[in-house]
């Protein structure tokens, strides 16, 4: 019941936001709902409920391992949204606030979905709810980004439905009675029809991989992240991609039970490394710091899917990386939003010398960049280290070499962009623009706190979290 409340509460918040009369006070609904959601998540985290085996929705071990970080990320974004929407007071924020809250509800549903259909509906819902957020700015460039997001994302989500159908038919052919919970599917094991399972895996990997932004299905990502407001970018990179990742984890557990785990792992290693390669290549040539974050996100997704292919220890490490990525990326997107607003452009040539014009945001952005490129002592360093260790234990030496090589090039590419933005003499236009931008506490604290949590997570990874990640890995892949 409490787990359903996690979904219903934000949806009620969304309904209230839709009816709330005042444009000025409406944004406060975001932090209010987010606080309640986080409190509820924490309660569930420390007092996990018993989940019935055949439940369609439930706060199971996997939800427990990832949902808290999504909730925390949303809380940070919600706190940032209040000052942000005050700056953008000229725009109606009814749809914006409503959809943000709806996304929180749907993300909670997606992470807790234990049934193929529910999972798909939640993911599709998130995709649709994101659309109005993307063209919040109303510029032709935002329209272009939205169009590409819908076309590529829509095709991806359609293919994942087709994949779900294939998996459903695999169960039906193997004597199933139409129970599409992941537990029931896994229980059918080798009785699932092999050709149908393979077809399902290909389609689901492509479909949910598109939502995750794995290469070569990542093409929507740079445009969307480049044009969307910082909050939306943070939620997409840390929340929406995570739902797609947990979806693939749940599907992978069925593949494992069906005896196709080794094949699935090989494809995941390949697609993960390819994503990292593509990301590193584009990062080396990036000239726009918001698009740079998108390619960095492609890289992080590559690490996640690689980790997921490396057995129990790898999955636990990947779940750790979900946390590191969500919090660090969230901080980066919010500080990048500040810089974008101060400079009036996200192009490197236009936005030079930001450490003069917006010193605090620049400090956060540079630190966040070092954190996400896995420099110690931030969380990404430790989670990537665990992925590497799992890969070495499994004997994937070439994959480790490639992973580290790509990360090195990504580091070169990102430092080049970020340091050029930070240093140098600001252009006259940027100087003029920055005069209207105030680095108020409201736009600094949320990213600073997220970065702080990322640091804390790296230095003092709590045992309770480590246990939660291991438990989730054990739930998905018993005996590995």
């Amino acid at each position: 019941m409490r787990s359903l409340l996690l979904i219903i509460l934000p949806l009620i918040g969304a309904a209230i936001a839709a009816m709330w009369p005042s444009n000025r006070t409406r944004p406060w609904l975001l932090p209010a709902t987010a606080l309640a959601h986080t409190a509820l998540t924490m309660w569930l985290f420390f007092r996990p409920p018993a989940v019935a085996g055949n439940a369609w929705v439930g706060f199971d071990a996997l939800a427990r391992a990832v949902l808290p970080t999504v909730s925390l990320l949303f809380l940070g974004c919600a706190a940032y949204a209040v000052p942000y929407l005050r700056i953008r007071e000229e725009r109606q924020n009814r749809v914006f606030v409503t959809m943000l809250l709806a996304i929180l509800g749907l993300l909670s549903a997606g992470h807790q979905a234990r049934q193929l259909g529910v999972l798909w509906i939640a993911t599709e819902g998130v995709t649709l709810a994101t659309v109005p957020l993307l063209h919040f700015n109303g510029t032709p460039r935002a329209f272009e980004a939205t169009w590409k997001y819908l076309l590529v994302g829509g095709t991806g989500i359609a293919l994942s439905l087709l994949g779900s159908f294939c998996l459903g038919y695999a169960s039906l052919y193997g004597g199933g009675r139409g129970d599409l919970t992941f537990v029931a599917l896994a229980a059918q094991g080798v009785n699932l029809s092999r050709p149908w399972v393979l077809a399902a895996w290909v389609l689901l990997l492509v479909g949910y991989g598109t939502k995750m932004g794995l290469a070569p299905m990542h093409t929507w990502k740079p445009d969307t992240y480049g044009e969307a407001p910082g909050i939306v970018g943070a939620l997409l990179a840390g929340g929406v991609t995570t739902v797609a990742f947990t979806a693939l984890l749940r599907v992978r557990s069925v593949l494992g039970a069906a005896g196709e785990g080794a094949m699935a792992d090989r494809t995941m290693v390949a697609i993960g490394l390819f994503s990292m390669l593509v990301a590193a290549t584009f990062l080396l040539g990036s000239r726009n710091f918001k698009r740079m974050l998108a390619y960095s996100s492609v890289e992080q997704m590559g690490i996640l899917i690689l980790g997921a292919a490396l057995g129990g220890a790898g999955v636990a490490a990947a779940l750790f990386h979900v946390w590191s990525n969500a919090l660090t990326k969230g901080s980066l997107f919010l500080s990048a939003g500040n810089l974008r607003r101060a400079a009036g452009s996200a192009l490197v040539e236009e936005a030079r010398g930001m450490c003069v014009l917006a010193p605090r945001s620049t400090g956060l952005f540079v630190t966040g960049m070092f954190a996400i490129t896995a420099l110690p002592p931030f969380a990404p360093f430790f989670s990537v280290l665990r992925v590497v260790r799992a890969a070495l234990t499994e004997g994937h030496h070439a994959a480790v070499a490639m992973l580290l090589g790509c990360m090195l090039f990504a580091f070169f590419g990102m430092t080049r962009v970020v340091l050029r933005v930070a240093e140098g003499r600001p252009k006259a236009a940027a100087r003029e623009n920055a005069r209207r931008f105030v680095e108020s506490a409201g736009v600094i604290w949320p990213p600073l706190t997220m970065l702080g949590v990322s640091l804390w997570l790296g230095l003092f990874t709590p045992a309770v979290l480590l246990n939660a990640w291991t438990a989730a890995a054990a739930q998905l892949f018993p005996g590995r």
């Binding site: 529910v118 649709l128 829509g154 087709l162 159908f165 038919y169 139409g178 740079p222």
Partner: protein, 215 residues
């Protein structure tokens, strides 16, 4: 009713795929989509072979209304608003599209042979029909430049998935089915709104103009 009727309908859907690939005028493309939607709407009733339940009737009515009437109407509205009648310079020409589509249909039949079917589905062409429609959708999505043609491609792709869903309509709970229908409709509806907005921003509804965002 026998498998013959079902296969006739699926054959009709596959034929409409080819007509869609060959039509350069947007109104005729939209008419083709609409006809395909109605054909798909009848499908669950024919497949039920006599024992028709309320749920199936609802699915059928919803499909005919959504895919056959509402979406085509929205598309027509968008065409009028943007004053675009014709797909002028497609990335993939109409003859090449048709050849690709025909090849895709043959490949679909071959591919479907590799997938095992339950005895009650054995004589039905649902799987090749679904794969052929998905491929047709992809050709239109990739090969056309006008936003409306691309939306039509997306619809044909969704139609293919719907066709596949017919295999599972008995076994999966109705909730999933209706939710899926709703999502499909809403999804295209939103795309329709976007088309409307894009047209205001770009005037010509030509996705080739959408090239500001690049490396």
């Amino acid at each position: 009713m026998s498998n013959g009727t079902v296969n006739l309908l699926i054959g009709l859907v596959m034929g409409l795929n080819l007509i869609a690939l060959g039509s350069s005028r947007l109104p005729s493309l939209i008419r083709t989509i609409s006809a395909q939607g109605v054909t798909l709407g009848v499908m669950p009733l024919v497949l039920a072979k006599g024992n028709i339940e309320w749920g199936l009737v609802l699915v059928a009515l919803g499909t005919v209304a959504g895919k056959g009437l509402i979406i085509p109407a929205l598309l027509r509205k968008a065409t009028r608003a943007a004053a675009v009648e014709q797909e002028n310079e497609p990335y993939i020409g109409f003859v090449s599209s048709l050849l690709l589509g025909a090849g895709g249909t043959i490949a679909a039949v071959a591919l479907a042979g590799a997938l095992p079917l339950l005895p009650e589905h054995a004589g039905v062409l649902l799987v090749p029909g679904a794969i052929a429609s998905v491929l047709t959708g992809f050709i239109l999505l990739i090969g056309r430049t006008k936003a409306i043609s691309q939306v039509c491609g997306f619809l044909i792709l969704e139609n293919g998935i719907y066709l596949f869903g017919m295999l599972l309509i008995r076994s999966t709970p109705l909730m999933v089915e209706s939710g899926i229908l709703l999502d499909v409709t809403v999804g295209v509806f939103v795309i329709g709104i976007i088309v409307d907005r894009i047209q205001r921003a770009f005037d010509s509804l030509d996705t080739r103009n959408l090239t500001t965002l690049r490396e």
